[in-house]
């Protein structure tokens, strides 16, 4: 435990250096899966629409007639310049798709986190405080079922309930067509655009559209948070400092609130970051359920259209996002918890 090896800047530097090999491995995997394994991408996507010469021209334009090693190096070079290629089927640059559709995915997941915390933290705290009671068992059961229930089924059922009991509440899409028409596109994030345009009516409409999808995705994530907060509150309540607080005659409610609960929240921050993979999977399904114009929806559309370049570009982007988020989480973790800096 020399001071040098435990220092924060050193830890962050090492962690950042590890980013490159990690990205390289993920990118190589994506390339192997999507470029080497399948047959001919151009034929798969537009083979039934174009003649053989046009197909060959398209193949040459994409560089698919060159040796795989050259293609691999080109792919790595392109990604380093943030060039994810252009789709085969409708010739859209993948970067445009990310810029236009990424905002919807971002607001969906952020909204979902808000709901997940609003549901998960109080319930987890309650379950931890009343450990092994009927209430605890019930809350844990909710956690198990929220994991077992397919998120798209939960979404479908919620749509059914809303259609039946709240007629007129929006259930599909990110906004009404008028809103989409009137709000000028500045940031690629519709919610932010409406705010910038100072358009109250549109803002309310967009927020209303967010409620159902964000709540659905939030329910999925809340299961994880319930479990984590519960176990942390239980552990914290066993600690000596909590015992000491009790011994000083501080009422139990206050002990839980001021002493146990606060410390139980620290690991939650980082675990939420680690749930990025779950969030991404959940977002793809939520977007499909609610016809949400985000990246997950785009990905599935291009998979169905058998457009390799589009799928490869989007999956590459997701891989990069995974690496970046995992690094950010590790650094945040090190800032919060000194024991991490080994």
């Amino acid at each position: 435990m020399s001071p040098a090896s435990g220092s924060l800047p050193r830890y962050i530097a090492v962690r950042l250096l590890l980013v490159l090999p990690m990205m390289w491995v993920l990118l190589t995997m994506v390339f192997l899966l999507l470029r080497v394994a399948p047959g001919d991408p151009v034929t798969a996507a537009v083979g039934d629409k174009l003649g053989p010469e046009e197909l060959a021209a398209r193949r040459a334009a994409l560089g698919l007639d060159r040796p795989l090693v050259v293609q691999y190096l080109e792919y790595l070079g392109d990604v380093a310049r943030f060039d994810f290629g252009a789709t085969i089927s409708d010739r859209r640059p993948v970067l445009d798709i990310i810029a236009n559709q990424g905002g919807a995915t971002l607001t969906l997941t952020l909204g979902a986190f808000l709901f997940a915390c609003a549901i998960g933290i109080p319930l987890g705290r309650l379950a931890g405080r009343r450990r092994d009671s009927a209430l605890d068992a019930g809350i844990r059961l909710v956690g198990v079922v929220s994991y077992a229930a397919p998120i798209f089924w939960v979404g479908i059922m919620l749509v059914g309930l809303v259609v039946a009991y709240v007629p007129g509440w929006p259930t599909f899409g990110i906004a009404d067509s008028e809103t989409l028409y009137y709000v000028p596109d500045r940031t690629g994030i519709l919610l932010l655009d409406a705010l910038l345009a100072n358009d109250g009516v549109s803002l309310v409409d967009i927020l209303q559209h967010h409620v159902l999808p964000c709540f659905t995705l939030g329910l999925l994530l809340s299961g994880v948070i319930i479990r984590l907060v519960r176990i942390n509150v239980i552990r914290a309540l066993d600690e000596d400092y909590v015992e000491a607080a009790r011994a000083r005659g501080i009422p139990e409610r206050r002990v839980v609130r001021r002493h146990a609960f606060r410390n139980a929240l620290v690991p939650v921050i980082t675990v939420i970051g680690l749930q990025f993979a779950l969030t991404l999977s959940g977002a793809i399904l939520t977007e499909r359920t609610f016809n949400w114009p985000g990246l997950g929806n785009e990905l599935v559309t291009y998979v169905t259209a058998r457009d390799y370049v589009a799928v490869q570009g989007l999956v590459t982007f997701f891989a990069l996002a995974i690496v970046v988020v995992s690094v950010l989480v590790d650094i945040l973790n090190a800032l919060v918890d000194p024991r991490v800096r080994y």
């Binding site: 491995v25 993920l26 399948p38 077992a148 089924w153 479908i156 999977s281 399904l285 058998r306």
Partner: protein, 320 residues
């Protein structure tokens, strides 16, 4: 040698596990029992689907009379029909067969590959170990649904959408979990005295791995397997929902039926979405319960053995 020694040991271990599960007390026992009962019901559905389901999974008429479109429950159709004129109850029963087939195939495949890779990697060590660990970590850091989408996308081009393709798309997702556990236990067990003894006696690496290491490093595989089965079922349903699973005329797929039900629900009819979804939830929950129950039963630090009353012989001086 008629039965190989390791085969006999495996049989004995299964029996020992069953005995321990039966003797466990409290919540863990009930969790395991409830999970097993529900899972068994679904497995029976899967095995006897042709006899339980009144109609075939892609049957939309009987005796020349076409079934009604999206009708509610009624005579002839216990749970009604969906928008493709299929009988919902029959689709749910046949869906159990698809689910059980795909999940068993993918879990067995990934367990076999993961355990073998982990064993070899952990025992041999060196650069092979380092590369495999690195690759497995990369695979593990990828969201499982995204991997399944990519794999089903590739396999569709090669072998088309089928039960086998669905199972293979799920296989790769779960290999890293077995690999990690088995590799780490192998690395620890490699230093054990019994392995050293076997090596000193001149046992070949393959013998050491098969006879000495394999039985000792696979104790947590059943727990991982059942929990993965639950997860695989959810991922299969998700693939079906996204339209990347099994086509409706090849097999009944609960996830696919749910994607078809989306429009009905928007029109205010919950029926076609309710039952396939409930089937998924029940089976996933049951498998999770079995996994949790197994892990508490197998883990000696968590296990609470059932106390059986001991009848002491009466003391001589108390006897009349």
């Amino acid at each position: 040698m008629s039965t190989p020694a390791h085969r006999r040991r495996t049989g004995g271990r299964v029996r020992a596990t069953a005995r321990r599960a039966w003797r466990t007390e409290g919540l863990a026992r009930w969790i395991l029992l409830v999970g097993l009962v529900v899972t068994t019901v679904f497995v029976l559905f899967a095995l006897f689907a042709p006899w339980i389901a009144p109609y075939g999974f892609d049957q939309n008429s009987s005796d020349g009379v076409r079934f009604p479109k999206t009708s509610g429950p009624g005579p002839g159709h216990l749970l009604g029909t969906n928008d493709q004129f299929y009988d919902i109850f029959s689709r749910v029963v046949w869906g159990a067969r698809t689910a059980v087939l795909v999940v068993v195939l993918s879990v067995v495949l990934s367990a076999v590959i993961g355990v073998l890779l982990g064993l070899v990697s952990g025992y041999l060590g060196g650069w092979f170990d380092r590369i495999t660990v690195f690759l497995m970590d990369a695979l593990y850091s990828f969201p499982s649904l995204l991997l399944a989408i990519v794999f089903s996308f590739m396999l569709r081009e090669r072998i088309g959408g089928s039960i086998l393709a669905a199972a293979l798309s799920l296989t790769a997702i779960y290999i890293p979990q077995y690999f990690r556990v088995v590799r780490n236990t192998t690395v620890a067990a490699r230093q054990a005295t019994y392995v050293e003894a076997a090596e000193a006696l001149g046992a070949r690496p393959i013998t050491v791995m098969r006879r000495y290491l394999l039985p000792n490093v696979t104790s947590s595989v059943p727990v991982i397997g059942t929990l993965n089965a639950a997860d695989a079922l959810g991922t299969l349903a998700a693939l079906g929902f996204l339209g990347l699973g099994i086509p409706p005329n090849e097999a009944a797929d609960w996830g696919y039926d749910l994607s078809r039900a989306l429009d009905d629900v928007a029109a205010g009819d919950l029926g076609p979405a309710l039952w396939p979804g409930l089937a998924i939830i029940l089976l996933v929950t049951a498998l999770t319960l079995v996994g949790e129950g197994l892990s508490e039963t197998l883990n000696p630090t968590l296990r609470r053995p059932r106390r059986t009353a001991v009848v002491l012989p009466a003391r001589p001086e108390e006897a009349p």
